[in-house]
């Protein structure tokens, strides 16, 4: 073993310098050319930062499209899912409560129209997206509150729907923050 200690120590030192140092600095340098310079791209409205492009934020006011439930209340200082098991009775009650709340705030919507992502928590607690149907099921409520024609809102959602990657891979989605910014800019 003794003959291996010195090489082990020296090799460890070299790998520290190379992988913690040089590799990190190299990627850091490349990040300066990336959007947001590797510091996270922000979204600005009227010169004011209102969020980060990738991270979801909490929308629970009736005048906005709601975002998904979150186990960390969209506080991006941390991240977590609920980690509730699929058959946990407390969890199922919680989902039932969310369904009831949704129905109260969205008169005229039937239970079967609510897509599951609106009443289940995401993996990160920071999910920025909804499915197009998750946004469209909220149109009636927002149209009534904002006194906007439902067709205008549907069109807005369609405009903000991201197609699958390359048009064929993965699901459709709508970024809730961008959709709500566009909603405020209507009229």
């Amino acid at each position: 073993m003794r003959q291996h200690i010195l090489p082990a120590l020296r090799l460890t030192a070299v790998t520290i310098v190379f992988f913690c140092g040089i590799y990190t600095i190299f990627i850091l340098a490349i990040a300066q050319a990336a959007p947001g310079k590797g510091r996270g791209e922000t979204v600005t409205v009227n010169g004011k930062v209102v969020g980060f492009a990738l991270e979801g934020q909490n929308f629970n006011q009736d005048k906005y499209f709601w975002s998904r439930p979150s186990a960390v209340s969209y506080n991006a200082a941390g991240s977590a899912g609920s980690n509730k098991g699929p058959t946990n009775p407390d969890y199922l009650k919680q989902v039932q409560d969310r369904i009831d709340t949704f129905l109260v705030h969205n008169p005229g919507i039937k239970k079967a129209e609510i897509p599951s992502e609106l009443v289940t928590a995401s993996g990160s607690g920071l999910d920025p997206d909804l499915s197009p149907s998750g946004a469209k099921v909220q149109v009636k409520r927002i149209a009534a509150i904002r006194r906007i024609d439902e067709k205008v809102l549907i069109k807005l959602i369609d405009q903000h729907t991201d197609a699958p990657f390359l048009g064929i891979f993965g699901p459709n989605k709508v970024n809730v923050l961008k959709l709500n910014i566009a909603l405020d800019e209507l009229k």
Partner: protein, 566 residues
């Protein structure tokens, strides 16, 4: 066709297309042949060798390999303990995160040195940026260690009689610089251009449209995420791992990261074919692994896309599938695909919360770790498979009345004893520690109430999963488990330590002993190992060992939960 399914097919297709040439490249690197990046990486290796005082051409026997491997791992262990317990006052700590307690530092150190990356802390609040960089170092070198051990076994499997099995440091350094580093740079660059942070600035904050003040964690994440995927490490920069938008911004990055998870484990099989000049054998191994993988993948895709029946009873639409713990931008299919790829390999990063998977998907993720050799971890996945092959050769030899020979070497009692011990160690560690924790929980329900996030069978699954993940050096979790306490830190640490090094020592010893034996050329009496029949035999050995060992435990956890759904 459904775009979510198309996405999954594309990921698997691209994966195989990349693994074949990269496997060939890895084979050339270990065989010491010329490769195209030589002009750049040759001088880099030379710097490593010079500064470390290593003579790369000095051959070692299998014992010397193991001593070198264990010595350097001990150095890493001490270095990591020192850093993690002193992070708070060291530089690069803009968020003022604390140092780790001794038991948490022990768990985290063992976890990263053993290529497991089980995380009983949350990246945003539990480590400084310096701590993250130290952990990233281990993501390179622990992967390099596993690959080097695998390279020794490849070398020992050649048709000749020798004790000289190459130089450990040579295999180790080249695994890091020639294989992991170039791929990591490519993946990291893709990530930063898709929005993953790479900065030393601390948390940012903004006021949301509804007027909430929100803090946003950032950091030098892209560099770490690239190597966490490629080296089957899996330890995320942020708490919720690759479910976090910053770690995995969109469907494209999800494809890149998920392909990175399986790329090297799969390529190692083709590297074996190249080094031994036995392509057929490589394809047989690949076939067995792929069939095993599909057995877990297909039902998981089905159940996740179908949705959670208990939620279905509430009367809402589940056209997107089961969405608890999943992200909309990936969807249920890509989440199930990731769940299986990350557990059959020993990666353990997640893009959806495994605790919230439907019961049978949860079981298949556990089975992936219980087998731990359908592709498996970088290097070590093949070592586990090698053990199963040795057992299969021996059993089939007995069945047909031929001397059990594997690639021209006679397998005798000593090798069989080592192989059996390694194969059963995994079962022993998982089941005995799950039994211990279940006993404690059942005997002191008040005291340990904080352990479980879910009642009943699912709660049992949380404990079973934790030890399965530790013993498979996987690192994912049913994260509802309250595991940040001394009991879990210490027991999981012990499990990870034993199940890392014994399954490396065992196969290297077997291969070393076999290499020294007389080479017997193939004859009519030789059991052919590059045939479908032998493939089926290996598959049967794996299925029987795993089914007999784990069926009772699984029936108490996910199976009972599945059949209990009304």
């Amino acid at each position: 066709m459904n775009t979510e399914i198309l996405g999954v097919l594309a990921m698997y297709g691209i994966l195989v297309l990349l693994a074949i040439p990269i496997g060939r490249y890895i084979g050339k690197v270990y065989a010491g042949e010329r490769t195209w990046p030589d002009p750049v990486l040759g001088p880099l290796d030379h710097v490593f060798f010079r500064l470390s005082g290593i003579k790369a051409d000095r051959d070692m026997n299998w014992k010397q390999h193991l001593v070198a491997l264990l010595t350097i791992n001990l150095v890493w262990f001490l270095f990591s303990m020192l850093m993690l317990m002193n992070m708070s006052w060291l530089p690069f700590n803009p968020d003022g995160n604390p140092s780790m307690s001794a038991d948490l530092a022990f768990n985290t150190t063992v976890s990263f040195v053993s290529n497991t990356n089980l995380q009983h802390y949350s990246g945003e609040s539990g480590v400084s940026y310096l701590g993250q960089l130290v952990l990233m170092l281990f993501q390179f070198v622990s992967a390099g260690t596993g690959m080097a051990a695998c390279a020794v076994v490849f070398n020992a499997m050649k048709e000749r009689t020798t004790e000289k099995l190459g130089n450990f440091y040579n295999y180790f350094i080249k695994s890091c610089t020639r294989i992991l580093l170039p791929l990591a740079i490519v993946v990291a660059i893709i990530l930063v251009f898709n929005g993953t942070p790479m900065t030393f600035q601390g948390k940012d904050s903004y006021i949301s449209m509804q007027g909430d003040t929100v803090q946003v964690s950032r950091g030098p994440a892209a560099a770490m995420i690239a190597i966490k995927q490629l080296g089957t490490n899996g330890g995320g920069f942020f708490g919720a791992n690759s479910a976090v938008p910053f770690e995995n911004p969109n469907y494209f990055t999800n494809m890149v990261e998920d392909i990175s998870i399986v790329l090297i484990p799969m390529a190692m099989v083709f590297a074996l074919g190249y080094i031994l000049k036995r392509r057929r054998l490589a394809w047989v191994i690949f076939g067995v692994m792929t069939i095993g993988f599909l057995c877990f993948l297909i039902p998981s895709l089905f159940y996740e896309m179908k949705g959670n029946p208990s939620i279905g009873h509430l009367g809402i639409s589940q056209s997107l599938g089961s969405m608890e713990g999943k992200e909309v931008r990936f969807g249920s299919a890509a989440s199930a695909f990731w769940g299986i790829t990350t557990t059959v390999t020993s990666n353990g990063s997640v893009n959806a919360m495994h605790d919230s998977f439907t019961p049978l998907t949860g079981m298949f993720t556990m089975l992936g770790m219980m087998v731990n050799s359908f592709y498996g971890g970088v290097g070590v996945g093949f070592l586990n498979f090698y053990v199963y092959m040795i057992i299969a050769v021996f059993i089939s030899g007995l069945m047909v009345g031929r001397t059990p020979e594997f690639l021209g070497k006679k397998i005798e009692a000593k090798e069989m004893k080592i192989a059996t011990m390694v194969a059963l160690l995994h079962t022993f560690l998982i089941l005995s520690f799950t039994a211990l924790s279940s006993h404690l929980f059942a005997a002191h329900p008040q005291e340990y109430a904080g352990w479980l996030n879910n009642p009943g069978n699912h709660g049992f699954s949380e404990m079973l999963y934790e030890y399965t993940s530790s013993s498979a050096n996987n690192g994912s979790g049913f994260e509802g488990l309250g595991d940040g306490v001394p009991f879990w830190n210490i027991t999981c640490g012990i499990v990870m330590l034993l199940s890392r090094f014994i399954p490396i020592v065992g196969p290297v010893a077997i291969a070393g002993i076999l290499a020294k034996k007389k080479y017997i050329p193939e004859s009519a009496g030789t059991l052919k190992t590059d045939t479908t029949t032998f493939g089926i035999m290996v598959f049967a050995v794996i299925a029987i060992v795993v089914a007999l060992s784990f069926f009772p435990a699984l029936s108490l956890g996910p199976l009972a939960e599945f059949f209990g759904v009304k």
